[in-house]
Symmetry: C2
Subunit: 316 residues, 2 copies
DNA sequence: TCAAAAGTGTTATCCTTACACCCATGT
DNA sequence: ACATGGGTGTAAGGATAACACTTTTGA
């Protein structure tokens, strides 16, 4: 494997970060430029690994400590290069989880937090079927289905929509698949280059758009996180040290975008030995004061897999 | 066309492929140099995407059609660069599944197939507890545990070994975690640069070594594939068009490295509607002729998730 | 006293695992 | 006949989803 005599044309490495925090019981991502960009920048070549490079970069540019980090995906599509200088760009994206307690300014050029459901309103089922699904997404998907002249194509489109968007069998993990289907159908047309971001409320685009393929990267991050909470205790990376079971449930619901069954959720959590009581209680719950719990870090050493299974609920 | 004022030092992109096929009921990977290297080479910059670049590269260098492809991981550790020219290398690895019917030469400079259990003998539980686990791995892990002078470190090591290597609760998906633990314990010391590959039978190294971090990449690929067969019907990418349920079971067992419960495996398969009878039978089974089945590709359009759950078996 | 959220106990159902057994072919 | 692998039915156990209900606070 000789190091290639024909040196390839210049290549730049860019890092993208999907930084997630729970603020006011909402899953939020750190963004730039009024929510149109994910934090991203060139990889400085003098870090020993990509992860340390990412950590340094994020902490320098956003003044945020970075907790759990995980690689998402690497792109090197030529279409990205066209958007800049003809130079090839390899973009490596990461998911990062942090704890953020106070809400900062959420606009301007400074980094700001945005609810991720701003970009994917159809993914939030916590309050029942999301309005945008019935009102915007489904009608346009149906139009897209009917727009196919070839009956075989039409059937295929109908089936794919059915699988990914059926209310009865909604699967919260398919965030990326759904986004890609919408992209194919031309309903989220912002990706592909840096162009003026359309008015988020304009009817042409569903959900707030982002520059480049950043919304796609965000979809990848959400999908990964939603899948992960089921077999790894990563929710706790987003929680304060002490919390009530109610808060924990709200956190999981916020990430999964679905309401959970309270009693079964509680049983699952303590059956798995994920938490322990601190002894204190919190009176700020509105009703009966709730016991406070903390994450049992030892669990990471006790079991190979331990996550937050989702006790779903049809009722509420 | 002077790009960027502060030009970073040159970066090269390298692609690595974990190419898997089932040959003689064994999971095999395509290798170079007598099994010491995974297929890998520079990414030619004029492909629209990484995947097309990988496909072209693999098909040109190995004369192999490439079926299912999935990205594994991207490394850019500085230690890799040191092994070559001081130039930074970003290495992007892929998992590829292909169908290979006939066994070719498995040595020399030409590409050749190697059973992946050659590199990870402790991962093959199809015939009960693997001999190398009891005879090599566990004794040395115990020595590693005892080598820690600090009692806290010793306890932590013991716990980690317990989680990842306990016979009673063996988890076949933890291939990478186990490899990393063995690496940390100094039992698979080949990674880190191009050095003479030690005699595979020498007692110092457990399992056949590979150059660079290729064995780690292979572990990543196996882990990914083992996890994936449980929720996506990827086994069929490795099967011939027609097969018996017995062959299918052997295939899944080969990948998972565990024996499965025959009756339940069959029930699971047809409950899920993954296959349909072709009408023909195969008399080459040794016993009663078996019905032939084919994969129902439609299932990909019918359900979002459909995999080969593993009906494990204590007995056999 | 009532609303609101915490917290407990029990039941029905389904899925996983296991066991027991019969069937069709080659030697 | 018997060994070998193919193929079917059914029962036990555990996990999930659901329901009903009690407890403790603040307004």
């Amino acid at each position: 494997m000789p190091p290639a005599a024909n040196r390839p044309r210049p290549i730049a490495i860019e890092l993208n970060a999907v930084l997630v925090a729970l603020i006011d019981e909402e899953p939020q991502v750190l963004t730039l430029e009024e929510g149109a960009l994910l934090p991203s920048g060139p990889f400085e070549g003098d870090h020993p690994t990509l992860q340390t490079g990412l950590r340094a970069w994020v902490e320098r540019h956003t003044h945020h400590p970075l907790g759990y980090v995980e690689q998402l995906y690497t792109f090197a599509d030529r279409s990205r290069a066209a958007a800049t200088s003809g130079r090839r760009i390899v973009s490596i994206s990461y998911l990062g989880l942090t704890r953020e307690l106070t809400r900062e300014g959420a606009g301007g050029r400074e980094p700001g937090w945005q609810s991720w459901y701003r970009y994917f309103p159809w993914e939030d089922w916590r309050g029942g079927t999301p309005a945008s699904l019935a009102r915007q997404v489904m009608p346009r998907l149906r139009r897209w289905i009917d727009a196919a002249t070839n009956p075989a194509v039409r059937r295929s489109r109908r089936q794919r929509v059915e699988i990914n968007f059926a209310e009865a069998s909604w699967n919260e993990d398919l965030v990326l698949q759904r986004y890609e289907l919408l992209y194919e159908a031309g309903l989220v047309p912002e990706a592909g280059g840096r162009r003026p971001v359309a008015d988020p409320l304009a009817p042409a685009v569903i959900g707030a758009p982002m520059h480049y393929d950043h919304r796609r990267i965000l979809a990848t991050g959400i999908a990964r996180l939603r899948a992960k909470i089921k077999y790894r205790p990563v929710v706790f990376e987003l929680m304060p040290p002490d919390f009530t079971l109610g808060q924990l449930q709200l956190a999981v619901e916020a990430l999964a975008g679905r309401p959970l069954h309270k009693q079964n959720f509680r049983r699952l959590i303590d059956q798995q030995g994920l938490v322990e009581e601190t002894g204190a209680v919190s009176a700020e719950t509105g009703g009966r004061p709730a016991k406070l719990y903390r994450f049992r870090r030892e669990i990471l050493l006790e079991r190979a897999v331990a996550g937050t299974k989702l006790p779903l609920s049809r009722t509420s």
